[in-house]
Symmetry: C2
Subunit: 155 residues, 2 copies
DNA sequence: CTGCGTGCAAATGGTTTGCACTACG
DNA sequence: CGTAGTGCAAACCATTTGCACGCAG
């Protein structure tokens, strides 16, 4: 996503456009591994060395509030951020803390029709998200460079 | 769950039996609202005033590690604990941070058979958990007493 | 211009850790 | 008895907050 696109999206949501917001937004798109706040900060600081930690958190909150990003929790303690593209589920590996998105409209339809038949007594559903736990199969071409990203192979 | 049962379960897992472990374990069963560590601590301290915060966290880790409890994280930052009874999903209300368990073997079968047909390319599934988001419908009999439990009506 | 957004640094709060002591097996 | 478990308090660390300044609209 380039700056123009980022600016456009911010404007659509009625948000003030600042270099910090553009940078945070673009960075979450660029780092497509559900980065932590820290990942985002250290990446941004290469281009925008002056940005403050608190600002990044505030911007992330703003973007989540405007539905431009979503906040994801894992077993481990820290929050992760994900561009909101469309309805999706998460593949999650506990051993490596890696998350990937999983979209499957057939699955969604099946679940939706199931719950339209079978209601839950005292609860009104707004949406359903699957956490699909397991293990990523790694292709074994070349060695994997060690980066400071969550979700890289550790197990 | 009484002490004898708690002790039995700890022994089954090969864990040393201590008053602290019994108390933590029983308290999570008693507080069936997916309590936070803090809920557990303040409840236990009524009977076992000397127990240390650090101990409770260590015991919780131990019990989670032995598969007697599970650890759940919500949108809000804090961890919540849940007795492991059987495979279940979570009903979750963002507004109140309330969690309830949801069991449905028909649903489980449907999902299982779906994924046995439709494999995910680079991922091996171990289990699937649904987060069913929405709103609890409250029955309006009498007033609800205010407690310091997560998941009570706030919205 | 006017106030929202930012930078900075200190505060917060849930969780973890290190160490001396205790008690389970 | 020996070692795993506990109590305690300090440390940790991701996130939040308060305030003065700067820049977007």
């Amino acid at each position: 996503m380039n700056s123009a696109e980022a600016i456009e999206k911010l404007k659509q949501k009625g948000l003030r456009v600042t270099p910090q917001r553009v940078a945070v937004f673009r960075t979450v798109y660029k780092l497509n591994n559900h980065p932590t706040a820290e990942n985002i900060i250290s990446t941004i600081q290469k281009n925008l060395p002056h940005i403050a930690v608190g600002t990044v958190y505030k911007v992330l909150d703003t973007l989540v509030g405007s539905n431009l990003l979503e906040k994801v929790k894992t077993e481990r303690g820290t929050m992760r951020y994900d561009p909101v593209l469309s309805k999706h589920h998460h593949l999650y590996c506990k051993a490596t803390d890696r998350i990937e998105d999983y979209e499957d409209s057939e699955l969604d339809k099946m679940i939706e029709s199931y719950f339209s038949r079978k209601e839950i007594e005292h609860f009104t559903i707004t949406d359903i998200q699957l956490q699909i736990n397991g293990k990523f199969k790694f292709k074994k071409h070349g060695k994997q460079k060690k980066r400071e990203m969550p979700g890289d192979a550790r197990g």
